[in-house]
């Protein structure tokens, strides 16, 4: 990995941090939405499902543009969040994380939803008859059983977040040390003569990271299944 200079290593670390934070932050929401989609039936359920899938099927540049409009400093959501929480997304790594989270969200929800569909609602009934409150049931029964699905979703989301390009560069540009992730670094390098080794190095890093994450997720899911299934 001699081909990678300090700026590339910065991008790698930043990518990891962005993907990690994006996954972690999106996870609770993804779990909640997945739960609602798997278990509740209400009018507009299909619309919610469609909305969740949008970032998966829209061109990333469009998603990035919409993020810029909504979550920019002057955007309605961005301004509100800034005033309320003091968090600003514009051209900060937080924004890169937001873009990555939004793009990874549909994949996470899909995987987690399957997890919920695999949990026997009878167990929740059983917990209710044992006097457990809704919250206790959720945290002690539903959630632990859905962990394999959540894990699979989280890691797939992480891998996707690592590779996100279009929405990120459109929303928060590629500021080294702030928003320049592996994919945007690859994009920049492609403009410079003689940078092929660095490009190849970064591509290999991202492939290795993504494949590694996927393998770990499969392995964890199988271990989990083994523990619960007893075989």
């Amino acid at each position: 990995m001699d081909a990678l200079g300090p700026e590339e290593w910065t991008a790698i670390w930043l990518s990891l941090r962005v993907a990690f934070v994006a996954t972690l932050a999106a996870l609770p929401v993804a779990v909640w939405i997945a739960y609602v989609l798997a278990r509740k039936s209400f009018p507009g359920r299909q619309v919610l499902n469609g909305l969740v899938h949008l970032p998966l099927v829209l061109p990333p540049v469009v998603t990035g543009y919409l993020l810029l409009v909504l979550f920019g400093q002057q955007g309605p959501v961005g301004a509100f969040i800034y005033q309320t929480f003091g968090i600003t997304f514009a051209f900060r790594w937080t924004g890169a994380a937001l873009a990555a989270a939004i793009m990874a969200f549909p994949l996470m929800v899909r995987a987690i939803r399957l997890g919920f569909e695999a949990v026997d609602p009878g167990l929740e009934d059983a917990a209710a008859t044992l006097g457990a409150s809704r919250w206790r049931i959720w945290f002690t029964v539903t959630l632990p059983l859905v962990v394999p699905g959540v894990l699979a979703g989280a890691i797939l989301g992480f891998a996707k977040a690592l590779g996100e390009f279009g929405a990120t560069i459109t929303f928060v540009a590629a500021i080294p040390g702030q928003t320049q992730t592996i994919p945007t670094a690859i994009y920049g390098l492609l403009q410079v003569p003689g940078s092929e080794p660095a490009v190849v190095g970064l591509v290999i890093v991202s492939v290795v990271l993504a494949m590694g994450a996927l393998l770990v997720s499969e392995w964890l899911a199988r271990r989990m299944a083994k523990r619960l299934g007893g075989k």
Partner: protein, 353 residues
């Protein structure tokens, strides 16, 4: 006293049940699809009836008229499901403690769970699983225990292994139970009251001894299931033979096996088809039990069988003989005859304590 009076429409199926159950064990008996699980779910609060009222003593769990509908959490009702529903990600110990740890040591001891506490549910046998489910329901200190065919998924040896535990619960824990089953010998062993459901409605209800020994019951529970249930006391042991002598109001009965300690109450079911009637006390017979009885009823059914109600002391017995025998023997109400019961005909599954 548990009183249930509910109506509920489920797709094409109409549930419309009224029954009262005393604070001991009430069995709900009925064939598949008759509405047993729905009834029990309504009591547990997992199914909201369209109308009616459910109460345990003074505590109203559901009353459509006054819009009361307690959540399952508020009902303090233990529920043992047919499929155990143990939490697969918790050890037996954590499963047990999930709803509380009321009387934990005793429950663990009564159900014989000491060795299992650290295991995961996936590593338990079917019978062990049901025992843990029972323990878990008990440890939340329920005011009522619901059991929906807790043994149906088990094969005969496993069933035989767990029944004594349920009996011990009944006798030692004093928790009222609603027990769903379609196995008469289970019902006879455990229940004091029997509620028979057909197609969403109660067709017979009453003390289990009375219901099962009434000749009218035969068509409802099937000819093989009919039979008397009597309470006996252990009167002695015939040690070298491995037999136990039981005393009841009508005399003494000898059964195989060592059935408890002296003076202990043992409940036995005597299947109607295993009772032979004789006009004179027979001699030189392998059957050990010959009881003098009085005929109280003779019920001619549709088929070739005749149900004969018998009084032995203060207890009711039931015999099923062919119409031909009934005529040949000139059976008549009030007649004094003998009932012959084979010691081996009362199988281990028909003996409860």
């Amino acid at each position: 006293m548990i009183s249930v009076d509910i109506k509920k429409r489920l797709g094409d199926f109409q549930l419309d049940l009224q029954f009262d159950a005393p604070t001991s064990v009430t069995a709900i008996f009925g064939r598949s699809g008759s509405g047993k699980t729905s009834a029990v779910n309504a009591v547990a609060g997992l199914l909201r009836p369209d109308a009616g009222r459910i109460a345990i003593g003074d505590a109203v769990l559901f009353d459509q008229a006054s819009k009361i509908h307690l959540s399952p959490q508020q009902r303090r009702i233990g529920y043992v499901f047919q499929d155990a529903r143990l939490f697969p990600h918790m050890t037996v110990m954590r499963n047990l403690n999930y709803g509380g740890s009321h009387d934990a040591d005793r429950v663990i001891a009564v159900l014989g769970l000491e060795q299992l506490l650290d295991r995961m549910p996936a590593h338990l046998s079917g019978g062990e699983r049901q025992r843990v489910a029972l323990g878990r329901a008990l440890m939340c200190d329920p005011q009522l225990l619901l059991m929906d065919e807790p043994l149906a998924a088990l094969d005969a040896p496993r069933k035989a292994e767990i029944l004594p535990f349920i009996e011990r619960l009944r006798d030692e824990m004093q928790v009222p139970m609603l027990y769903v089953s379609h196995d008469v010998s289970e019902v006879a062993r455990l229940a004091t009251t029997l509620v028979v459901i057909e197609d969403g409605r109660v067709t017979i209800a009453g003390p289990v001894g009375t219901v099962l020994s009434q000749p009218e019951t035969v068509p409802l529970v099937g000819p093989r299931a009919a039979g008397a249930v009597i309470e006996t006391k252990v009167a002695g042991r015939l040690l070298d033979d491995g037999l136990t002598e039981l005393a009841f109001s009508g005399g003494r009965i000898v059964l195989p096996g060592l059935l408890g300690v002296l003076r202990q109450t043992v409940r036995i079911r005597i299947p109607a088809q295993d009772v032979i009637l004789a006009k004179q006390a027979p001699a030189g017979l392998s059957a050990l039990n010959v009881l003098p009885v009085t005929i109280t009823r003779i019920e001619y059914g549709r088929g070739p069988g005749v149900a004969v109600g018998l009084k032995a002391g203060k207890d009711q017995l039931l015999a099923r003989v062919t119409r031909r025998s009934a005529l040949r023997m000139e059976l008549a109400v009030g007649q004094q005859i003998y009932a012959i019961i084979k010691a081996t005909a009362v199988g281990p599954e028909d003996i409860g304590s």
